[in-house]
């Protein structure tokens, strides 16, 4: 069943067409890895899907219903589509627990005890049960990103967007974050993941999309796209990525 149907999505910044007509159907339970060189429009695609950027053209349907008009509707869509950012974007004036409770209290209007119980569960799930009282400044990058994942999960989103969740992390911290994302994958969550971790994409994604010049250049199973790419630009991209691998 199609959860999110994207059609003809386009976005320009100034004279620069960053997205030039994207058609993409995301089925429930799918895990899509989005690859592409920098500037290919990966982040903009993600940001358009929850309307952090307002698309210039095209349509987005969530559960068969067209969405995207009016602030009230956008706010509702964002509650159903969670997002995890490269730079975490945790709220520095709140503890880990406060960060995870925030959406529940302010947006969902849950009572504080209920929100706190929920937030503690989510933090335990990402392995941070002992860090609930810590402020972001006192957490490592990997811990921050796991708090950010717990914050998104607490809203119980139908679709999770990950925008290069490990790109800002020291190499030795990447594993703990990828481990959490893989656990979510195993729960059958629907997710769209922009990443440069090709190995992770290969093992966890159900579909891989290669973006170039703001359009889907090639897509297919991880094996098709990552092991046997058909198109030249995909091949060149993968060759560059594998140049220094062991």
């Amino acid at each position: 069943m199609t959860l999110l149907a994207v059609s003809g999505l386009a976005k320009r910044f100034g004279g620069n067409a960053v997205l030039a007509g994207i058609d993409l159907d995301i089925e429930k339970g799918e895990r899509i890895a989005v690859l592409g060189a920098s500037g290919s429009g990966k982040s903009t695609l993600l940001r358009c899907l929850n309307f952090l950027e307002i698309p210039d053209a095209g349509s987005i349907a969530l559960d068969g219903k067209l969405v995207g008009r009016g602030e009230r509707e956008l706010v509702q869509v964002r509650q159903r589509v969670g997002m995890v950012f490269q730079q975490f974007n945790l709220f520095p004036h709140m503890t880990a627990l406060g960060n995870v409770m925030e959406g529940l209290c302010t947006v969902r209007r849950l009572a504080r005890p209920e929100a706190q119980a929920r937030a503690e569960r989510e933090l335990a799930r990402v392995g941070l049960a002992d860090k609930t009282a810590h402020y972001p400044a006192h957490l490592s990058g990997g811990q921050k990103q796991r708090v950010a994942i717990a914050r998104a999960l607490a809203m119980d989103p139908e679709l999770l967007l990950f925008d290069e969740p490990t790109s800002a992390l020291d190499p030795e911290l990447v594993g703990e974050v990828l481990g959490v994302i893989r656990a979510l994958a195993e729960e059958g969550r629907t997710m769209l993941l922009v990443t440069h971790e090709l190995g992770f994409a290969y093992h966890v994604a159900t579909r891989v999309i290669f973006l170039a010049d703001g359009a889907i250049h090639e897509q297919g199973t991880p094996d098709e796209v990552l092991k046997h790419p058909k198109r030249e630009r995909t091949q060149a991209f993968l060759a560059r990525h594998k140049e220094f691998s062991l």
């Binding site: 929850n50 952090l52 602030e71 706010v75 509702q76 964002r78 509650q79 969670g82 997002m83 950012f85 730079q87 974007n89 945790l90 709220f91 520095p92 004036h93 925030e102 959406g103 302010t106 947006v107 400044a137 950010a148 914050r151 998104a152 809203m155």
Partner: protein
């Protein structure tokens, strides 16, 4: 060489006390009204919507570029001619000082809000927060912390600007000193006493704000 003799000032300490109460009253009014209205106008200046941006900008430019003393005198002497009501010295002075402070603090609020990284907005919006929820819960608490030094400066300015209310004979410290000086022919002692009283009020307050700033800097 004049002889310093504070006995005539001390003899009128009850008058100065009445003045001090008047000073504190107008300070409290202008602090709340000026910094409160300033936040609304600052939000207007931050807004991309013209209906908010232009009136807020006009307000800021007008009150930043006219002297407070002229505004106070205008509200007291000119407004009652134009409008069918009289206005008390307190109201005229509080209006002038509050509106002026609102204009200056609006720019502090705007700058503080603009200094918060875009990622904070993204984080808040991605949770489904409305503009006002994100502003109230995420942006303002962080911005206010950064604005604290500038806002405490404003508060100190407001405290000292209260003496301008004497221009319309509002009973505050300077007005009472004028009265004492004219009755006892002791301007040196009377006005020195006012300066000292202001210093004694403000100096500990300023030290407290330094302490507060250091506290906030440590929490970052």
């Amino acid at each position: 060489m004049a002889q310093w003799d504070f006995s005539s000032v001390l003899a009128n300490s009850d008058a100065l006390l009445v003045g001090a109460v008047g000073t504190l009253r107008i300070f409290a009014i202008c602090l709340v009204a000026g910094l409160g209205l300033g936040l609304l106008i600052g939000l207007g200046r931050y807004s991309r919507r013209r209906v908010f941006y232009w009136p807020a900008t006009a307000f800021v430019e007008f009150f930043r570029n006219t002297p407070v003393l002229v505004q106070i005198v205008w509200f007291y002497f000119a407004l009652p001619i134009l409008a069918p009501f009289t206005i008390s010295p307190l109201a005229a002075a509080a209006l002038g000082i509050s509106l002026n402070s609102a204009a200056f603090s609006a720019e502090i609020y705007r700058g503080g809000i603009q200094s918060i990284e875009r990622g904070q907005w993204d984080g808040a919006r991605a949770l489904g927060m409305s503009f006002l929820q994100a502003m109230r819960r995420i942006i303002l608490p962080q911005a206010l912390k950064r604005m604290t030094p500038a806002l405490t400066n404003r508060a100190i300015e407001i405290f000292k600007m209260s003496t301008l209310a004497s221009a319309v004979a509002y009973v505050e410290l300077l007005q009472q000193a004028k009265l004492i000086a004219s009755l006892n022919f002791n301007p040196i002692e009377a006005y020195t006493a006012v300066a000292v009283i202001f210093f004694v009020f403000l100096w500990p307050l300023v030290q407290l704000t330094y302490l507060l700033e250091r506290r906030l800097a440590r929490d970052e």
